[in-house]
Amino acid sequence: MVGFAGWEMPVQYRGVIEEHLAVRRRAGLFDVSHMGEIEVRGPDGLEVCQKITANDLARLKIFQAQYTLLLNEEGGIVDDVVVYRLGEDHLLFCVNAANTEKDFQWIKENLTGRVEAQDTSASYVQLALQGPLAAKILQRLTPVRLEDMRPFHFAWDEVSAIRCLIARTGYTGEDGFELYCAPDRGAGLWNGVLEAGAESGLEPAGLGARDTLRLERALPLYGNELSDATTPLEAGLEWVVKFSKGPFLGREVLLRQRQEGVKRKLVGLEMVEPGIARSHYPILKQGRPIGEVTSGTKSPTLGRPIALGYVLADEAVIGNAVEVEIRGRRVGARVVSLPFYQRQEMSRA
């Protein structure tokens, strides 16, 4: 267990690699109750939130979820979040644990009109059931027809006779679900899902595997790839920013940045010489500093070292031969396309 944003979190159960591969091949169950929840209610809530987020909330129907960014006036990323539309005038933001207080203050500062925000983090336990067998396992426990639930959709129903928000979302690059329930039912839900998944090879998985899984899929981690001083254009998240939706915080800065080009860009790196790039290691081109690694590991799925990092925009070219300085040693690497891993989409009947 490690301390993490005030939570005692399991880094691993049986080992990061074993848990990682279980999620890729079968399924893994994560306790991600550390994630924060902020709810916004009121007739003006959607309009207010539209102004402080990058994606287009007008496209979000009830029972749908959306990946979006909370932005500041400079176009920097306050947080990356998933927002669920619980009702006509009711939004639930699932936010990064360490950012909960900051996000809550930011949302409150920007509230105008008939709307109120509440930090409801203590009201939810969140479990993530992820992997190719996730739907099969979960279907044993719930009356919801999971084959009809598309990605980024959700339902309220029972799992193991416990009332849950059941969302087809996740942070691993696999198919899967995130389940929200009342804290006093959390242990029951955890045990119920683990039991139902035992015959399918479901394993409990910790923060360690969560990090390597998201990194293979090149999903950014706030604090590593994202910060208040990073813009979505730099981070490769331009697809999230819907300029056409109307005014929002940071829009002018981002429009200018889109026109003039960004100074630095997030890229994927693979090592061509032995060594593992890690967060904060310098990236060089012929000895000249051009950037810094933000995340790195040896990919359990691919069996080779992978990393994300920011480099000068001119150097963000697929195939570019660069070096990573690993404890004083310059080690050859090259820029590769992202993601490092993408699951094979299964055809749906």
Binding site: V2, G3, V16, A98, G208, N224, P274, I276, R278, T297
Partner: protein, 142 residues
Amino acid sequence: MEFPEGLKYSREHEWVLVEDRIATVGITAYAQQELGDIVYVELPEVGEKLAKDDPFGAVESVKAVSDIYAPVSGAVVEVNHTLPDNPETINEDPYGDGWIIKVEMSDMEDLRGLMDAEEYAEYVEHQGEKGGETGEGEEGEE
């Protein structure tokens, strides 16, 4: 957890086995367990001179990097060449096939600062009480 008698142990969780002036060095069962799956090992060159308490290499798990410190001073006379291709050997057999380097000691007095198995077991127990405070490798804020 096993801490064999006859080995000497450092505060940085290396073990030392001395035969004549040659010290075989590895990391302890406690260290490999704390690190988890080891996926990469960085070794020094044969002939390199090591000063006691200085880092001479690194072991890496998927999650974190950990320096390995020289528990004694001397010259590297042999490195375990099987480790780069099979770093998991350190997890599987930390006191045997998972040895890391052999050092020709320049000062036998260096051994006096190291712990015996019983002292080390007590030391590790105390580490356990603090366990979790360091949160190694946790960068992200999720």
